[in-house]
Subunit: 135 residues, 2 copies
DNA sequence: TTCAAATAAGACTAAATTAGTCGTATATCA
DNA sequence: TGATATACGACTAATTTAGTCTTATTTGAA
């Protein structure tokens, strides 16, 4: 538990690569996969997620690839994590509007509120860590 | 990812229960399981883990159960998590002595050092949160 | 206009982890 | 000696993660 998925690790690597090579023309998923020895299809999907949230622009076709849209100091770990992981929270019940569908214990659970506070602190930690610090 | 396991949630609940009922005689796993509507066998194992690290004392036999050995303010979330989860880290490579067996990319990985720093901060966050704050 | 190289995306499979159960042994009190 | 409790390993089922396959589409250049 509390482990980052490979998906997230690859996402951080890819974002870092884009930030470093952002001088001029775009970068392909293949290039990143080969450079870091990580599965091509996997990293490609992560980049597609980035494109969907407009963190990067994707250019289709031959000579295509990806370009970072924002400055490394304007991208935080929480941006990266939340685009590639649909649920990056400590428990199923962390959202304000969580209900019994999220967790059957929600009505009597006494540890939820303290955990929400811990979650807030962790999120703030990730928000404070920018891509620039990882270059 | 980054989700606490049910094992950890039950552990926090059980520790909290012990801290609240620590007035006098001991508390059984059955009592905790029934009170929180969580699986008996599961919470029993968590309590056995606690006993192994001497966070609680276990009393066998009839009229047996568990008693907290330390004050709630002397028990932190990191104590609880590290006793019930053998590996609570962000990646497989967080230990100082990690090698290629941990992760094949370890020699060329550029995100490891920044992640170790994030890990340090998360651990410190858990260390600063005491059981007393969760009562 | 056709080929090569690239993104886009959904379906699928395999491996690993998590959650929970079962069975049996042991200890202790009444 | 029986009831009640911990101790603990083995097992199973469910879920999640990691990775692959396939097909479609876009675009630049020969
Ligand atoms: S309500 Fe309590 S038991 Fe349920 S997911 Fe939230 S913290 Fe965990
Ligand atoms: S070495 Fe890098 S890729 Fe491997 S587990 Fe550590 S952070 Fe992840």
């Amino acid at each position: 538990m509390l482990k980052l998925s490979k998906r997230t690790e690859y996402a951080i690597m890819a974002a870092r690569y884009l930030a470093l090579k952002n001088s001029g023309n775009c970068v392909t998923a293949k290039e990143i996969a080969e450079d870091y020895q990580i599965p091509y299809q996997f990293v490609a999907k992560v980049l597609q997620d980035f494109a969907r949230t407009e963190m990067v622009s994707s250019i289709q076709g031959s000579k295509g690839g990806y370009v970072l849209n924002r400055l490394p100091e304007e991208i935080s770990l929480i941006d990266i994590i939340s685009t590639v992981e649909e649920n990056h929270q400590l428990t199923e019940c962390m959202q304000e509007d969580a209900n019994k569908t999220s967790c059957e214990h929600i009505d009597c659970c006494k540890i939820r509120d303290p955990l929400i506070e811990v979650q807030r602190k962790i999120d703030s930690l990730f928000a404070q860590t920018s891509l620039k610090q990882i270059l």
